[in-house]
Structures are given as C-alpha cells and as structure tokens.
C-alpha cells in the first residue's frame, strides 16, 4: 500500500503563520507512530484564515483541517485524521470535511487557479497529470495568427489593472516587424490587498510559464522575462525551480517538445519600486535603468524592451491563456458579464474574517464577495469602507457595495477593479488619514518624471494636514479638489493620475472625517 499523502502548503502566507513547523510536526509524529505518510508541500487553497490548512488524501478525496499548529498535531493523529473517515477525525475541532465541499471553494469558478493547492508546484509530471500543457500542445499545432485570434475571441483583458484586451496587444506585436521580440511578465504585484500573482507563482508556476510560452509562439518572440518584486522571495524560489524543471522536460529551451520552436525564460528581480508595476517603467528597469515611466507612444508592443516589439502582461493574464487554448475561446468567454469576460481572481484582504482568494466570474456584487465569502470584518465591527483595486483604487462606502464586479461598472462609480484586491476597513478607520496616506504613498513612490505626481503628491499631504487641522478648511478643500484635478488630468501615468481616486472618494463619501481630528471628534 502506498503512503497516505498529507498536504501542507508551501505558500508564503501559510508559511508566515507556521506551515513549516506544522509540516515538520506531522512528519515527526508519523515517524513516531510508524505510519506510512508522505508530506507534500502544495500551494494554498486560498482560504487563508484556515492556514496552515492541512489536507489528508483518502480515496482520491481530500479532507481539510485547519488552522493546524504543531500543538494540535498529536490530537489529530489520536483521532486518526490520516484515515479521514474515522468518526473521531470528522468530529475533531479543526475538521472541515472534504475540501471541495467547503462552501468558500465550492462557490468559486476556478479556471486560472484550477490547480493551485492541488498539485505539487515543483513537479512537471504532476502539472501534466492535472491537465497542464494541453494549451501549449494546441498552440503548437496552430498558426500564430490563429492563437492570437483565439485569445482575442475569449475576451481576455489584462488582469494587471488596466484591463486592455490581451488579444489586441498580441496582434500588434505579431504584426510588428523585427526578428527579435520579447515576452515580459509583469510580476511586480505592488498593490496592497493583492496576492493572486504571488499565490499563483508559488502554487502553480508552470501555468504562467505555459502561458508565456504560448504568447511567444503567438507573436514570434524567443526570449522572455518575469519581472518579480524582491518582496516575493518564495515566489522567486518557486519560479526558478519550475523554469529549471520545464527546461529539463523540454517545455522551455531550444526545441520545445520537438517543435523546433525556441523560448528562453528568466526571472529578474525588482528592487522596491511600486512604479515598476507600470509597464514602461518596468521595461526601463529590466534594461538596467531607473524605473521611470516612458512617454507613449510608442507602445511597448511596437518598441518595448530594448526598443523591440514586446508583449507585456500581468501574471494572471498569461496564466489564463492555457485554459483558453485548451478549452477554446467560447468556454472562457461564457463566464462573465458585459465586456468583462471570464473570471477574475479576487483577493479579500485587510480587516476581513475570511480572507483569501476568490476566483469567480465577473458579475457577482461586491456585497456578496464581502459578506458571503468574506464574512464581514475580522474585528466583528461594521464594515465602514472598502478599498478596491489597490492604493490607487477608490474607497467605497456601504451604499456602493451592490456594484457588480465588472470593469465598466466600477469605472462608472469612479472606482476601478484593478488587479482585484478588496481591502476591508471597520468603523475605527479614519478616512482622512487614509486620504493622507494615499498622497504620502504617491510622494514616496513617484518616479519623479512628471510634475503633477512628483510635486502634487507632496502638496497633497500638506493640504490634507491643514484641512484636518481645521486651518481655513473650506479653502483647503477647494485647493485639494483643484490639486486632484491637476493630478488626474496632468500626470503621465496612472500613479499620479489615479491617486486622486482614493483621496476624493474618501473626501466625498466620508466628509465627516475631514472636519477635525478624529480624536477631537470622539471626545466632543
């Protein structure tokens, strides 16, 4: 009889709350009890409040327990959790039953994250056994133009935040003249409240590699870079191991699966600059320069990395491509609403009871996400504001929670879905402080190339300080709104151009917080 497999995530978030110690404790306890158990380090299922979440595989089905800390490991073995079927195991305080039946997972539509948490992220064989590389196989039998058409027909839009149709970008690169073209993955996931790129790179790195390889075939590129932020050391290890494994199995390198096609892939590390998530700034950084934003045009698709035609997309965009090639554009397109097709991996973060990754088709409302999945705030207090789309996204009050998750619907309320991050704040939040932080963040992270962003953000902090102190408040508010307009329309890129979103949404929806310092108000 083969060993019982017990899964303990290797995901950085799971490790941050003790998954390594849990994995060691399980292995040691199994040895002590002379049980034949294999501990597999998988990706996270994305139910982060249950981490470290341990799964036991029995008869092909997995049973979840969590959060499991080393101190509860002996009691789990006492309850025979490694058999999962035992009554004691089912009744254990940490038992959650079959993983796939947990409502949080069952209600999701996992397309891009189909394998995350299921496979061993270091095994090509496991990836292939779970449907991996079928998209590449299909692409290898297609003409480049047909691959591009398939991506266009799927309706896939850039998942990094700007939501530009991926197929159109690819078509431009395919049509651009030149013998040297590049595929660049933007893995500089800097938005607070987002971790889907990280989870995917750590939990299923091969799907990103496959997606980038398909992009190379579609556009005639033979070299790719993954630009990864230094803040993600675990993702770096996972990607480098996966690239080496893919190369050894001839999914990367000189002659991909005997097709005669070549694609080389390399990970490059960022160095702590939020602006490098902006695509032209990222390209500058990859070229070994200061990460300053470029003027557009020319578009990177025409003159990108080292001046060559370049496909540059976010991690989730590339990772969504294999399933489109495997199952067809229509399959993917049938998910979603309006012009937002397919699924978006949303991330529930901040003061949330059930934080984690929720991949659903576009169209669900923010309220369903916050309460049905998230369970409201972790503190138990009322949810007062939700920031969607990272530090450049608007703060939404309760009255806007019925907005559907759809790019256009969010644009209509002067917000943005961005990269799908949703950060909850309870009623202790000081929205004037959050508005100030938005300006402060812009001042710290501005690349400095354009004046509205570089200077406007510094002045923004000062104006908000005076406003909060009640110094001639009415005039300060006029000044702040005027400054925001200048930044909105005068900035070179989204950094300065969208910083007014969190500032103005806080001011418009929570004006009471700007009246005077919150401490003074509380004591009044």
């Amino acid at each position: 009889m083969s060993a019982t497999r017990i899964f303990v995530p290797l995901d950085a978030a799971a490790r941050s709350v003790g998954a390594d110690a849990t994995a060691r404790a399980i292995a040691e306890e199994a040895r002590r009890r002379k049980l034949d158990i294999e501990v597999v380090r998988n990706g996270s299922r994305g139910m982060l409040w249950l981490e470290p979440m341990v799964e036991v595989e029995v008869g092909g089905a997995r049973h979840a327990y969590g959060p499991v800390h080393p101190s509860s490991v002996p009691s789990l073995f006492d309850a025979a959790f490694h058999t999962a079927a035992a009554d004691g195991a089912k009744r254990h305080a940490l038992a959650h039953g079959p993983t796939e039946e947990i409502a949080y997972l069952k209600r999701q539509q996992r397309l891009t994250f189909a394998r995350v948490g299921i496979t061993d992220p270091r095994s090509v064989a496991d990836y292939v056994a779970h449907g991996g590389y079928r998209g590449l196989k299909a692409a290898l039998a297609m003409q480049p133009g047909a691959i591009v058409d398939s991506v266009t027909a799927s309706g896939l839009r850039g998942r990094g935040g700007a939501a530009f149709p991926a197929g159109i970008k690819w078509k431009t690169v395919l049509g651009a003249p030149g013998s040297q073209k590049y595929v660049v993955c933007n893995a500089d996931e800097g938005d607070s409240g987002t971790f889907s790129d990280r989870m995917l790179m750590e939990g299923d790195p091969f799907v990103l590699i496959e997606g980038m390889t398909i992009a190379a075939l579609a556009t005639g590129a033979d070299r790719g870079y993954i630009y990864l932020r230094f803040e993600y050391p675990d993702a770096k290890r996972a990607l480098e191991a996966a690239i080496a494994a893919a190369r050894a199995a001839h999914y990367l390198g000189e002659n991909i699966q005997g097709s005669g096609r070549r694609f080389e892939l390399e990970v490059r590390m960022g160095a702590g600059a939020y602006i490098c998530g902006e695509e032209t700034s990222l390209l500058e950084s990859l070229e070994g320069k200061r990460g300053q934003v470029r003027f557009k045009p020319p578009l990177p698709a025409i003159a990108g990395l080292f001046g060559k035609p370049t496909v540059i997309n976010n991690v989730i965009t590339f990772a969504s491509v294999p399933i489109i090639l495997d199952r067809g554009a229509d399959f993917y397109k049938n998910f979603g609403m309006g012009r937002s097709r397919g699924t978006l991996p949303m991330q529930l973060a901040g003061n949330v009871k059930h934080g984690g990754l929720v991949e659903v088709a576009f169209g669900m409302t923010l309220r369903e996400l916050i309460y049905d999945f998230g369970g409201g705030s972790d503190s138990g207090r009322p949810v007062r504001a939700v920031q969607v789309g990272g530090p450049l996204g608007a703060y939404l009050p309760e009255s806007q929670f019925d907005t559907p998750l759809d790019y256009e619907a969010f644009a209509n309320i002067k917000g943005m879905l961005g990269h799908g991050g949703v950060v909850l704040f309870d009623d202790t939040v000081d929205m004037a402080a959050q508005a100030r932080y938005a300006m402060e963040f812009c001042a710290i992270e501005s690349c400095g190339k354009c004046t509205p962003c570089r200077i406007g953000s510094v002045r923004g902090v000062e104006v908000i300080d005076r406003l909060r102190a009640g110094e001639n408040a009415a005039a300060q508010e006029v000044l702040l709104r005027d400054l925001c307009e200048t930044m909105l329309y005068g900035s070179l890129c989204a950094m300065g151009g969208l910083t007014p979103y969190p500032v103005l949404s806080a001011l418009n929806h929570f004006p009471e917080d700007f009246v005077k310092p919150k401490s003074a108000r509380a004591s009044a």
């Binding site: 800097g190 607070s192 409240g193 230094f230 050391p233 529930l348 003061n351 530090p391 909850l424 710290i444």
Partner: protein, 178 residues
Amino acid sequence: MSNPSPRRVIPLKLEPSSALSAAERKAVLEACDRGRALPGGLLPILHAVQEALGFVPADAIPLIAHELNLSRAEVHGVVSFYHYFRTERGGRHVVHVCRAEACQARGAVALEAHAKRSLGIDFHGTSADGAITLEPVYCLGNCALGPALLIDDELQGRVSAQRFDELMAPLRSQGRHP
C-alpha cells in the same frame, strides 16, 4: 613582441581608486563579471553586490561604472532610485515592516510605532546592538494575514506587538548572520 613600435608604453591605471577592502572589491568585480553578459544587467549586478556585502558601498559605484562602461551618474541614479538598495552598512538582519493599506486595516500603524519604539530607531536605522535594520515596505502580499513583516527573506503574518518582540529576541541575542 610583434609590435615594432619604439614608443614607450606608460601604464595607466584606469580603474578608479576606492576605499573598498580587498574582499569588497572582489565581490563587486565578481558580480560585474557574472552580470556583464546579461542584457540590462545592472540590477542583477547590484542585487549580487548587496547579497554579498549586505549593502552597495558608495565606493563600489565608480568601480561598477568602470566595469560596465557607464557613467558614475548612471549607476548612482539607479542605486538611489530603488528603495531596496542601501549604500550604508546595515544590521545583521533587515526587518521590513509593511505599511500598506491592508496591513493598516489590521493594526500596522500601531505595530510600526511599537517596532520603532522597541528597537529605539526610526525607519532606515539600525539598532544600537547592530542586530536589526528597520525598513518600511509597501505590501508583502500577505494582505489577509496582516500585519506582516519580512525578516531577511522570511515572511511573517499576524504580527502583534508581543509577537514582534518574540521574533526579534533571537535575532538580537545571536551572533553574526551567516
């Protein structure tokens, strides 16, 4: 010997002089040699220098510029643009405290204050015992389990003030980091 020219060759020392120690100079040159062939290799080179030495010494900048045929201004511009690169020697460990919104919603502002107070330093400073350099960071991707820290390259979640002290204690008592 095949050159019949009678001209006397005066050896010019083109390499900039610097106060780098022999070991530091060796590390910088090795990083340059490994990164030279990479297109856009300056960032990988700076990462390699910082990994080897813990920082990018100001005196390394002219040497890197010389090796890569760049101007000092170009190299300085890159080093100073990125928050991660430091030009001062840091502590034995670097602790990055997340300041971003999702961690704020879970108490990051209080944690930041506690970290500064308990270590007796502000951001970018190093504790008096030389153990810990404190740096701000804007998102570690642990946004559902905040407040988050990165200790060297180990991520930590749900860090309360008490947990922070527990995590710092072994770093402050142990000897040099390998």
